[in-house]
Symmetry: D2
Subunit: 423 residues, 4 copies
């Protein structure tokens, strides 16, 4: 995407496409649904819809016209996520307590900002402003995925187990037999190079040394995790990192998030389509980094490094998951539609934990200004995930993309890719 | 109230009067407003509207017709407050996470139950059933007060400081000069005697011995608490109970709840009418029992015992606060409309902390059955409050009424009555 | 005890008797044993030995001679328990971290203060000074009991389960069959009257009204609590106060403190003599007020009020437990030596929970000065216990004595007396 | 050290040298001093002395003679640190509660084990047993450093601020002017290669790519941190990692650990020699990784990666710090004796935080057996430190050594090395 060189109508169409998806994702939710926040990490739908709008108002409209009057001054505080450079903000866990502005007031704000944005997009614009708009669109796409993972988390606190969509989820076909693909390693190129949008944390491109290794073609399935559970995996400290087994014991973890075993011993999983029978053929999701590491160890493997992952992913090419999304709409992929042979499960179904701590690339420079707070300050204590999930919007998946979460977190669609040292 | 001896139309009118007040109190609140719960103790409006309905469905309709089908089986769990005898329930602090049922679904449920209840009220009924309905109406009145105190608490978490009603609050006239009224003490009668509704904790009537004492005619004002603050009262451990000063230090308490001093040194208080300039003449509210005790000590006095309070209150007679409520609607008293001379601030403006721990009266017997879980099991660690507040519904104030809260709590309209030993 | 009227040698003998008992109680403990503090509430032995000495240095020697130089200025902070009027002090839970002063340094300090005190005791003294010394001796006796209960708590954290004394504990004979003794109630006298030492909280003497009631002659035995456990008492919410069952659930309580059931189903209890087989005939000890209340409810009874207890206890007269202590030394009574028929278990074996919240008597006045911080400021949220235990020093038991703890605490020798309303 | 090829007397001498240092380090500490544990992370001296002995008994004597009877079976649980494969153990934070075994009982145990060990060391031994003994000696050296850092932490909780040694600490000369030394980067060798002891986490040796970079010759001094404080560094969120500023705010951090500013504005630091005036020329110690990162940012630099550090350190060669230790005994280096020109402060004075997350080297294999639990399971969420401190025993410093702590921890002697990308 290179917004600066596009025509006004093309720009507006792209802007509308991203913005309207956010509203379509929220369309099945009542004002009350959009209000709730069951965990500090799972923001209300309404807050997501407001925050991405705040981004355009603050970083685009406000920068373009410093004399511009804010739509509502209080929103500057209420919808700032964590930008220290932009003044006070409310604590993350308090977002669900803001009954005002209401959902319809937030929607009115969105419409007003969209009007201003589209007027801006029609005319000439400097490259730096275009780049900030592009960043805003990618930022909104990130929040589209969070909107889905967060409403799932927030619904999970209700014994009624509400559904975001009521359609049934198709079952997965059995995956093809897993294969191990050897990689020679050596001196490799890592990071984003060339044209096209990327976040600052994907740069600068640089070299790394890889020892020979192998990756498994398919990600770990629910069936494999059921076997891990049956073998007592959650109780066997020797499979776990020390922090991992401490987390298991403190929280009494016995299965991936949202799994439930009923009195008859059948397994269920809570999804955006309500509670569903667990599909053994589907990729496991909602495992923490600690679980991913222990499951990989139990399977005689390990997690890949992010460099091992990137080199392999780049060789697969394309973006098949995005293709699936566009064909099927954002709903179907959530069901995990199986394992197209051209993809071999390599990426795009679940975010794949790597064993790499999230750190700056050599020579990393954050963006200038307040927007530069985004990536650099989080480069500690989190782990890199690669790939993308059924909830990732189209066009938001690429081989150099670095997602990151703390290793105990698992409310995203996070799964397990296996690696091993070459024999 | 003696429902068993009234005619059907009279009964129905009384039922409707209580039930409709609940809905009028919620009328200014959006679905989102009715959803939020900022503290475990401050239930959502929607939950209150549901819970009082659950009471009628469970304890009246369900008992009357054991074969009756529940309106919605899940509501039995969602709207049970704490009755162990009635099966599982969700944790109190989770009530704000139940976006479903929505506010309009709860309202539909209320209407359905009201239809059944009114059919029942038309006909003959046994005394025990009538008593349970009477209990249900008083129970709903209790929750009407909580609905107001809870929406105030829940709004207080929003930096926008929303108002339940937008009307301005009239300022109080200066109270008449405080007087001390001496009481001889001796052997006195305590507790409810004779006809009329009372909760089980007001019985049995019994005797107690009181030493000579005096009560002050007016309750403590905001001006007096400002003087306490100016004198360093919150920092002077010797004024406080040991648990009180520990609470002050742990929570950094420097003023009653909802008070704020702006950068110019002016005091404001957050109310159901939004943030208002602090009225020095108004009775202080939203103080904890610890604060009440320390303020009384600083004023050279002490809190009364509940027996001292009851004997004095009974001699005043009537229910002036209720009269004011009926004339002015439920809104005006919230403003603290001043100190009619016939009342002399004796009771009805704020709940008045006593120094009496909440305990069973000699010979106390809880109600039979699950409804009997209400009072007895709370008779530990709480303090008795007497009187009633601007938010207490009409007809819900009487000299024997025993309210109770933990001494650190202050989200109710709680104030300070002064007592002292006779000289 | 009226120290002001005694001769110097008599005074010195009494002083030495109390002071030396403290050291005899600590004689079996290593410097490390005297150092440890496993819970914030269980102070180290060394701290007790220092704190009671600090009391004499601060309140007696320091008041007597304001120009006197402190033995060690730092001790003023280290050994102040909670007197706000006397400057800073270290947090209660930090006492176990003070490796310096060492146990032998504390003992040297004790000896130096004893020298000064005995010089003072030889001469004339004003009544107010004599009263303060008397208070100091009673204060030291209180800490002698705490020294024992605290070392028991502190040893309980060590898997080696160390013993304070190694002698075996004799088993109890079965108690005589419990009887219920009816009391007429009426207007009764409560509180300390006449000569003899008493704490300020036992005064002023005053009248109270009691309804007819009955007390059981024997306290609840371990066998009765075993039956309560076998009947599922810890899981039956309807037996418990609301705060009680919440405490049970939060802490996973399934038996009195220090009880353990081994793999063969046999019960053991950890005592000052190490772990011992549970004696079914012995009075239960180490139950919280919540447990006491639930056990009484399960037995079809209730806890007595403190007034009911005092009136009954006074009629028994004497101090049989003290007699036993003097004959046997402080060791034997810890074993629970059975139930002399003259005592009928009425009091002196365990502290007996009452249902009375700890509150000031009508007209209560704390002591003047810093020593007056002792009792008044604790008169909230605690429950009164009456009686005395196997660990209470001789001469420290009387019918008007008011002990007090929070209802969840159970590291004292606390048991259950049953009461009921007269039929 | 290659114990397998040495003669018996040489082996015994080496064994005694390490073991006796532990006892010399504890020689100034009373039994009470050796008992205390003020923080879960700061184990008692006595526990360290026992734990290293447990290592020899469990991993050497027990493996050599499986039929051998344990010295005391309970010690197996009490002195196991975290080896899941070796059965239960007591929680880390409970170590300070074990008054038994006493310090002298632990010392008797040490002597008994030493007797057995020396008998073993006299004879022939297999390479695997020799390797385990070597590991045990290095393990004991690690605990010698911890013994010192832990007693410092444990003493810091005592308002008396006790000293481990009473000698005064010499002041540092001003360091030479800092210089930046450029490094070309390229493909470099990392990790331990060749003979000599190393921990498993230093292997396998492997290649890495480094971009051109520079390191500063001198570590950050106290004077530089004073300037950081004066400039408001602790309050300026933009200097900090997000987790770092959250840690600062949660704990109210305003200076490195053990620093205190008195009422006259002078700075003091608590040390093993008691509280001392802060020496502006000395290297800063006791900063967390978060502080190190923020201070480096404020100085216009960044932390080095562990690879950048290792390549530079290897080129310096030798072990000057060890030389200083041997000459001066373990005391003097604690004072920070200044900056010998041959060292240029490059390493050996403080542990130097790197920005590298602690992770396995490519192809990493843990040791076989229970001893292999040591390093691998901690490879998450911690940061690598390189170098060594004034408290590191001689012979325990090498260029490939990887120390690791969580980024919030700062009770070690941890300081700041500056790096930057080449211009």
């Amino acid at each position: 995407m290179e917004l600066a060189r596009e025509s006004g109508p093309v720009r507006i169409a792209r802007y509308r496409e991203v913005r309207s998806l956010s509203e379509r994702l929220a369309a099945t939710l009542s004002p009350e649904d959009q209000q709730i926040q069951a965990f500090a990490y799972a923001s209300p739908t309404k807050w997501h819809l407001g925050h991405v709008t705040w981004f355009f108002e603050t970083f685009v409209l406000g920068r373009h016209d410093p004399g511009r009057k804010l739509y509502c001054a209080a929103f500057e505080t209420l919808f700032n996520s964590y930008y220290e450079g932009l003044g006070p903000r409310i604590a993350r866990g308090m977002r669900g307590l803001l009954s005002r502005p209401t959902a319809s007031e937030v929607r009115a704000w969105r419409a007003a900002i969209d009007g201003e944005m589209e007027a801006l997009l029609e005319g000439e614009m400097e490259a730096s402003l275009a780049a900030m708009i592009e960043l805003g669109l990618h930022h909104e796409q990130q929040h589209q995925e969070l909107l889905l993972t967060d409403i799932l988390a927030n619904f999970s606190a209700n014994p009624l187990l509400p559904a975001w969509r009521d359609e049934a989820i198709p079952r997965c076909e059995p995956a093809p037999a897993p294969q191990w693909i050897d990689r020679a390693g050596g001196i490799v190129d890592i990071g984003h190079r060339g044209p096209g949008f990327h976040f600052d944390n994907e740069a600068p491109a640089h070299r790394a040394v890889l020892e020979p290794y192998a990756l498994r073609t398919t990600v770990v399935t629910n069936a494999e995790v059921l076997a891990f559970i049956a073998d007592g995996g959650y109780g066997e400290a020797r499979l776990w990192l020390a922090d991992g087994i401490a987390w298991v014991r403190e929280h009494g973890i016995t299965a991936p998030a949202y799994w439930r075993r009923d009195d008859d011993g059948r397994w269920w999983t809570f999804s955006l389509h309500g509670e569903q029978p667990l599909d053994p053929n589907a990729p496991v999701t909602h495992v923490s980094g600690y679980e991913a590491d222990a499951i990989a160890t139990w399977l005689g493997a390990r997690l890949p490094t992010e460099e091992e992952w990137e080199v392999a992913a780049r060789s697969v090419g394309g973006d098949p998951a995005a293709a699936r999304w566009l064909e099927n709409g954002p709903v179907t992929p959530l069901a995990g539609t199986g394992h197209p042979t051209d993809l071999c499960g390599l990426w795009g179904e679940t975010w794949e934990w790597t064993r790499s701590a999230y750190a700056p690339y050599p020579g990393f420079r954050p963006l200038k200004g307040a927007a530069g707070e985004y990536n650099g300050k989080f480069m500690a204590n989190q782990w890199v995930l690669r790939g993308g999930s059924c909830a990732t919007p189209p066009g938001h998946i690429r081989a150099t993309y670095r997602n990151f979460f703390y290793p105990h977190q698992r409310w995203q669609f996070t799964g397990v890719r296996l690696a091993r040292d070459a024999r």
